[in-house]
Symmetry: C2
Subunit: 429 residues, 2 copies
């Protein structure tokens, strides 16, 4: 074993960073044995240098992250700051000064993955980011290495723990969205400003990363259709139950049936209770992958938290260190397929639509006509009437999102349709 | 991209091998793009050369596997023959003649993994075998790479599809073992001689491989305690249901509480219905991994079959080819921890024991005394009496297998105990 240690610079020392530093110390012997050389924490860049950080030598702490990544003797920079800047500039600077990079930064990877990969390649360095998607769950490596000989057709995932906690709570207790969110906040599962989670921004970043790797195609955050879950109601869960379904916020990356394009989207959807994703409880994450040869795979585990995320970061750190020692680099960006990313209107799925309608003869015929005119085939219709008001629940066969959108627009114009109470996609069948 | 192709020799062209060859042809462009060079099927060793093999150039077919692996121009040998010999000699010969090896051979890896890894290392070559455990499910790579910075404490898996199909059938229909086996055979899930599956030999080989990688310790097939599932009865399933459990044939690899030793075992066990493994249906496989930092992870998918196994083989093939091009090798055997493998007697778990006893006063006191004398603490006891005969169902707290064994031996000697109807371990709590 080599005795000269590999030097690691840690950018950020919050929940994840402090756990990375802790494990690097407590498991130093194991890491050395697995890498083939000791690893040494050579510097820690933080914003608040005066904060006491248990187990971290204060002489390693600096507020000058730029100087740290420019030192020239750093083998691996671990970036757990998050956000676009200064993380992006620091990572690029690290490559230019001879370091490889391990990052947990989903927002940055989703926005600028191609440029960062290019910077890594130009400098012959590694860029690893297993922790950016679904915390501890090995996903990036299985997708880009284990399934490298296969053709992935679909990735269907619960990739945000906060929203899964909220939806699970609504499902199991009948609570409304606000009540469930309040509980998630009280328990620390939701942040004070939950927007990034509940509006699907976090999941959309992960969808972009997963789609890119799965389809060997650049997929940016802007390419991902996004719909949050703040408008999911207790009534939606009641409807889902009648369908033998539950509701999850899903990240869905699909290859079109003809193989010539892909789509990526995040939105709440009904999935059958028999689907493995339906039983993913609390803040857990799970990702279901469908491929030509392997068939259906699922990866399940904690999607966030300091320790789980640190586990993923350290797995990457070991891999990158091994690569340094052997003078090689791991698989870089694979975007050779360069498939077009289709807009949401091209997505084909099933829909569950609840309409408030006048309770009089001929309404169903009118509604059915509108569906037919837009080429959306109806699977089932259920009518419930009371006191001159009625509701119609329509479940469609597979249709494009554009066709469904046109149908709904036309339905809203009917005199007999008082309102469209909810539209929910049905997935995983 | 390099234009000179990497040459692949295929040993075996059965269910898996023919699928590997097919995908190498149909997905040649994708594989080339992902590897950075084309791959070419340079030879196929078979036993029956006259059999028509669709899509395979007859001029590549040979019965002389030894000459094929000795050719010297082969980059990667894919071994999908199975069994110990001639596979072992062919793999070693391949290393000596400059090739890296991808194998799906669980029996060989479990028996001679250390020697094969040593041969690979001596020759600076790769030995990859993702397909040896749980078919298409990425497990070897996540355990040895993604979790390389973590400490795995437990691996709990359903790693044999045949037995899971049988047990699932018994659970869902109330069928007995033979009836369920007959159905598995009729549907092609069980072989004509199902011994390797139902007696746990197949699962034990996989347990040895998983334990070795998870604990960075050599674990051989002989180190794995093995109990088949042919004696599981419909009555056992009824007992399990009363406990809120089902029964699965589990491969369990554990680090002892003090961290100083490990165990590996295969046997049927009750697990709670709330455990993610309980809902693994049919011939699917799933492996649950518990580690210090990541927490609880689960990997799920098809554990066998030509296409899924080929997916795993091809993922390895891409990785090994990339390593060839970069002049590096992937992670080899990691056995530095060299922990002792403890015997079954040291395993600590809970037990569900059904006793047929005389229905008279004092029996429960006698039985309870025997448990206490052997240091096995009782959690619950349920008595059912009828016509002078009675049954006692005892569920224990955690105790060593040795203590439980002593208890059962002593119970059998009691006049009032007519027989020990069943003993089943309770896991996953």
């Amino acid at each position: 074993m080599r005795t000269r240690p590999l030097k690691v610079a840690l950018l950020g020392c919050g929940v994840v960073g402090s756990e990375v530093a802790r494990i690097m110390t407590t498991h130093a012997d194991d890491l050395a044995a697995r890498i083939g050389a000791p690893v040494e924490l050579a510097g820690v860049a933080v914003r608040r240098p005066d904060k006491v950080r248990e187990g971290i030598d204060p002489s390693l702490v600096t507020t000058d992250a730029t100087a740290l990544v420019k030192r020239g003797d750093i083998d691996v920079v671990v970036e757990v700051i998050g956000g676009i800047e200064p993380a992006r500039t620091l990572i690029t600077t690290a490559f230019e000064h001879g370091a490889s990079v391990v990052s947990a930064n989903k927002a940055l990877l989703a926005q600028d993955g191609a440029a960062l990969h290019a910077a890594a390649d130009e400098n012959g360095k590694d860029l690893y980011y297993e922790a950016a998607v679904a915390g501890a769950i090995p996903l990036i490596r299985p997708l880009r290495e284990s399934l490298a000989g296969d053709k992935v057709n679909r990735v269907l995932g619960i990739v945000n723990g906060t929203t899964n906690f909220i939806l699970d709570k609504m499902d199991s207790t009948g609570a409304g969205y606000q009540e469930a969110l309040d509980e998630a906040t009280a328990l620390g599962y939701a942040e004070a400003d939950p927007t990034a989670d509940v509006e699907g921004f976090d999941a959309a970043a992960k969808a972009a990363i997963l789609a890119g790797i799965a389809f060997h195609t650049r997929v940016r955050l802007d390419d991902v259709y996004r719909e949050g879950m703040t408008e999911v109601t207790a009534a939606d869960f009641a409807s889902a139950k009648e369908m033998g379904c539950t509701i999850k916020l899903l990240a869905i990356c699909e290859r079109a049936a003809d193989g010539a394009s892909v789509t990526a989207r995040v939105h709440p959807a009904m999935i059958p209770l028999s689907h493995p994703l339906a039983s993913v409880r609390g803040a857990y994450n799970a990702v279901f992958v469908e491929s030509d040869a392997a068939g259906q795979l699922m990866f399940y585990g904690p999607g966030a938290g300091g320790s789980p995320t640190a586990s993923a970061v350290l797995g990457d750190l070991v891999a990158v260190c091994r690569n340094r020692l052997s003078g090689a680099t791991g698989p870089g960006e694979s975007a050779y397929a360069a498939l077009p990313v289709s807009p949401m209107g091209d997505v084909v799925t099933r829909y569950h639509i609840s309409l408030d309608v006048a309770d009089k003869p001929g309404v169903l015929a009118q509604v059915a006509t509108v569906f037919a005119e837009h080429g959306v085939s109806i699977d089932t219709v259920r009518q419930q009437g009371k006191d001159g008001e009625a509701s119609l629940v329509v479940v469609t066969h597979r249709a494009s999102d554009a066709a469904l959108g046109g149908t709904v627009e036309a339905l809203r114009k009917l005199d007999t349709v008082r309102g469209v109470a909810s539209i929910m996609r049905v997935e995983g069948e």
